[in-house]
C-alpha cells in the first residue's frame, strides 16, 4: 500500500505532463498561451546553466529574507509584549485590528512614494505582510499558554525576567513558528507584486518582463522557480523549527 501510494504520487504528475505535451502537439492546447513541457525545458536548461535564473532567484531570495527578518523580529517582540501586558494589548489592539485587514498590495503605491523605487520599498512591502501574521500569532501564542505553567513559575520562584525566558517565550514558540510559516507564504506572494514596479532583477521582475515580451516559456520557467523557492524556504523553516522546538511532537 505504501509503495503503491508512492508510485501513484510519482506517476500522477508525470502523466499530467505527458498529457499536457500530447494535447499541445495535437493542437488541443494553445501553446501560445499554455506552452508545453518540452518547450519550457528548452528554455529552462540554458537559463539555468548560464546562471541567469539563479541570479534573479538570489535577488528575490535576498529581498524575501531581509523583508522577513524586518517583519518577523518586531512582530515577535511586539507580539510578546501584547500577549504579556494587558495595557500594551489594550493600547495597540485597535490599531492592529483596523490595519491588518488592509490588503498589503493596496498600500504598495504609498510604500513606493515613501521609500522610493530602490530595494527598501520591496523589502518593506514584504516586511509589513510578515509583520502582522507574526505579531498576531505570537500574541495568540502567549495568551494560549496554559495557566498551570504560570502557577508553577510563581510557586517555584521565577522572577519576572525568568518568567519571560522560561515560560512565555518557549510556550509561545510553536505559535510563533506557525506565524513564520504563514508569513513566508505571504512573502512569496508579495515579492512578485513588489518586483512588478521599478525592479531590475528578481523572479517577479522576470515574470513581468516575460509578460511584456509575450514569452510564455520564460514565464513558466519563473513559475517553476517560484515553486522551488517556496518549497526550499518552507523546508528551511521546518528545519529551524525542529532545532528550536525539539519538544514538539512530530509523528
Amino acid at each position: 500500500m505504501r509503495t503503491e501510494g508512492k508510485l501513484i504520487s510519482f506517476l500522477s504528475p508525470v502523466l499530467l505532463l505527458i498529457l499536457w505535451e500530447v494535447l499541445a502537439r495535437m493542437g488541443l492546447v494553445d501553446i501560445r498561451l499554455f506552452s508545453c513541457p518540452s518547450r519550457i525545458m528548452e528554455t529552462f536548461i540554458p537559463v539555468l546553466l548560464s546562471g541567469e535564473l539563479l541570479y534573479h532567484s538570489w535577488i528575490s531570495v535576498r529581498r524575501i529574507m531581509l523583508g522577513f527578518a524586518a517583519g518577523a523580529i518586531p512582530g515577535v517582540l511586539l507580539g510578546l509584549s501584547m500577549g504579556l501586558f494587558p495595557l500594551v494589548r489594550a493600547a495597540l489592539e485597535p490599531m492592529v485590528a483596523a490595519t491588518f485587514p488592509v490588503p498589503k498590495l493596496a498600500i504598495m503605491p504609498l510604500i513606493l512614494l515613501v521609500f522610493g523605487l530602490g530595494e527598501s520599498s520591496k523589502v518593506f512591502t514584504i516586511a509589513i505582510g510578515v509583520f502582522y501574521l507574526v505579531l498576531i500569532n505570537t500574541m495568540a501564542g502567549v495568551l494560549s499558554i496554559d495557566k498551570i505553567y504560570l502557577d508553577v513559575a510563581k510557586n517555584y520562584g521565577a522572577s519576572r525576567w525568568n518568567f519571560y525566558r522560561t515560560v512565555a517565550l518557549p510556550g509561545a514558540l510553536p505559535m510563533i513558528f506557525a506565524g513564520f510559516k504563514l508569513g513566508m507564504g505571504t512573502a512569496l506572494l508579495l515579492i512578485v507584486a513588489a518586483e512588478l514596479s521599478a525592479a531590475r532583477a528578481g523572479v517577479g521582475y522576470w515574470i513581468w518582463r516575460a509578460y511584456d515580451m509575450f514569452d510564455i516559456e520564460r514565464m513558466f520557467v519563473a513559475l517553476i522557480m517560484m515553486s522551488v523557492l517556496g518549497y526550499l524556504l518552507s523546508y528551511l523553516l521546518d528545519f529551524i523549527e525542529q532545532q528550536v522546538i525539539p519538544w514538539k511532537t512530530t509523528h
Partner: protein, 270 residues
C-alpha cells in the same frame, strides 16, 4: 506513640481564621472556605479529604501563595534562609513541555540561582530514587502519566522547601500506578521528613500516607474532624491495608465524610 513525638515537635504551619469568598457574576458570592484554623507540626504528613468542591485545593493554593485569602492568614514558621518556603505538586500535568525531565526537576533550583554543579547532583539524586535516570533527557510528552507525576514529585523535593504541598498528585492515575507512587512517595518522604500537606479524594490514600487526616465539610469548607493515624512507620501500604486498625480508621473517616458527600450532592441536585 509517634503522635506523642509529633506533639513535642514545633509548629510548622499556622492557619489562622482563613476564609475565602469568590465573587460570582450572578447571584450570591461563593464561600469556598469558612474560618479554617489549623496547626501543622514540623515533619508531619497531613492529609486532607473532603467532598469535591469543598475548597481543599483553594486552601492549598492559599498556602502556596497562588491565591489570597479573603480573611485570615497562613504562616509558615520553619523557613530556612536561602530555601523556598513551599513547593507544590500539582494535580494536573504541570511539567514544562519545553524542558527535559532533568531541567524540569531542577527548575526551582535554577530559579534561585543554585550552581549548575549542585543542580546536577541534586537532580541525579532525585532522578535515581524516582527511577527516572534513564529518562533524564526525555521530554514530558515521551513519558507516561505515572512517570510525569514522578517528575513532579522529584521537582518539588529537589527544590528542598520548608513544606511540601501536594494537590491530589496521583488523582488521575490508574490504581496500580497510584499504589506504586504512593509507596515511592512514602519512601522519599521518610528519607527527608518534610512537613507535607496532601490533598486527596481517597480515604485509602489518606490513611496510607498521613500522620493525621483532616476531614473537611461540604461547601463552605470547614474543618469537620482531625484524626490521628496511629499506624506504625515505616509503612508498607499492602501490609497496613489489611490491619484491623486501618479498617477502623477507614470506617470512622468514611462515616464522617459520607455525610458531607451527601450534603454536597444534595446541593448539586438543587
Amino acid at each position: 506513640m509517634e503522635n506523642n513525638a509529633l506533639s513535642a515537635k514545633r509548629d510548622a504551619i499556622l492557619v489562622n481564621n482563613i476564609s475565602k469568598v469568590f465573587p460570582s457574576r450572578c447571584g450570591d458570592p461563593v464561600v469556598a472556605l469558612d474560618n479554617i484554623n489549623l496547626t501543622v507540626k514540623e515533619g508531619e504528613f497531613l492529609c486532607i479529604v473532603g467532598p469535591s468542591g469543598c475548597g481543599k485545593s483553594t486552601l492549598l493554593r492559599i498556602l502556596a501563595g497562588l491565591e489570597e485569602p479573603t480573611t485570615g492568614d497562613a504562616v509558615v514558621t520553619i523557613k530556612e534562609e536561602g530555601k523556598p518556603v513551599n513547593s507544590m505538586v500539582f494535580q494536573e500535568q504541570s511539567l514544562f513541555p519545553w524542558y527535559t525531565v532533568k531541567d524540569n526537576v531542577t527548575y526551582g533550583l535554577t530559579m534561585r540561582g543554585v550552581s549548575k554543579k549542585e543542580r546536577e547532583q541534586i537532580a541525579d539524586h532525585y532522578l535515581k530514587i524516582t527511577g527516572l535516570t534513564k529518562f533524564a533527557h526525555a521530554y514530558p510528552h515521551q513519558l507516561s502519566g505515572g512517570m510525569k507525576q514522578r517528575v513532579s514529585v522529584a521537582r518539588a523535593f529537589a527544590n528542598d522547601p520548608a513544606i511540601l504541598l501536594l494537590d491530589e498528585p496521583f488523582g488521575s492515575l490508574d490504581e496500580q500506578t497510584r499504589v506504586l507512587l504512593q509507596q515511592e512517595l512514602l519512601k522519599i518522604w521518610e528519607g527527608t521528613q518534610k512537613t507535607a500537606m496532601f490533598i486527596t479524594h481517597s480515604i485509602d490514600e489518606a490513611l496510607g500516607l498521613g500522620d493525621r487526616v483532616l476531614v473537611m465539610t461540604a461547601r463552605p469548607g470547614k474543618v469537620k474532624a482531625i484524626l490521628d493515624i496511629d499506624l506504625p512507620r515505616p509503612r508498607d501500604l499492602t501490609v497496613i491495608r489489611s490491619q484491623p486498625r486501618f479498617l477502623d480508621l477507614f470506617h470512622t473517616i468514611w462515616f464522617s465524610l459520607r455525610e458531607e458527600v451527601l450534603k454536597a450532592r444534595a446541593e448539586e441536585i438543587n
